[in-house]
């Protein structure tokens, strides 16, 4: 289990390779990556604020729940904070399991929890000023599945 909260960019390809390489008895690896969108007239910059201390605890708790609920060999969470440009990778999760269903379900679960239960807040800086990204009701609803 590997959990990182960091300001620095991460190398998606390298992290995916290293994660897959260290699985010997797991046949299935799922990754999810969140990317800042680069739209015409869209934001120039995103700043992610977080709650140092609580963030790490929240991610640890979410990860432990996933390990308990599914037959997982391993999981990885990396989440950035600070300044991001359009097309930057915000975060990634990776899960490894013997059978594909566990890796898929656990990755979706981690994402649903990260969206609404990990103390991150996104602010977008665009041509028309700044705006805090609003939480979506459907993200809250997504938690009810689990």
């Amino acid at each position: 289990m590997d959990i990182r909260v960091q300001e620095a960019p991460f190398d998606l390809g390298l992290e995916t390779t290293c994660f897959a390489d260290r699985q010997t008895d797991m046949g299935a690896v799922v990754t999810f990556t969140g990317i800042t969108r680069d739209l015409p007239g869209g934001m120039d910059k995103m700043v992610i604020e977080h709650y140092p201390g609580m963030t790490e605890k929240a991610l640890q708790g979410i990860a432990e729940q996933a390990m308990e609920r599914w037959d997982l060999g391993d999981l990885l969470i990396i989440h950035r904070y600070g300044d991001l440009a359009p097309n930057d990778r915000i975060m990634m999760v990776a899960t490894a399991s013997r059978h594909r269903k566990d890796a898929f379900d656990a990755a979706e679960f981690l994402m649903d929890y990260l969206k609404s239960r990990a103390p991150f807040w996104k602010k977008e800086f665009g041509p028309d000023g700044t705006e805090w990204v609003a939480a979506k009701p459907e993200d809250e609803d997504a938690l009810n599945r689990w």
Partner: protein, 81 residues
Amino acid sequence: MDVLYFAWVRERIGIPKERIETSAKTVADLVAELCAREERYAAAFADLSALRVAVDQELTDFDANIENAREVAFFPPMTGG
């Protein structure tokens, strides 16, 4: 106790953190105390349904007891991932 503010709550109140001496029993009591203090608090806490609270870094609700808390944090719904 330390009181922390994040995202637009921090912006509205104007500071990220402050030390508060209080005898408030619950988060709601603390909020009432802060709102009575200054307009910027009343503005930030106007709609509690738009806010979340953590006591000692655990997400909780406004009824939570804070008599032994070291740290209370207020913030909007999270937008991670």
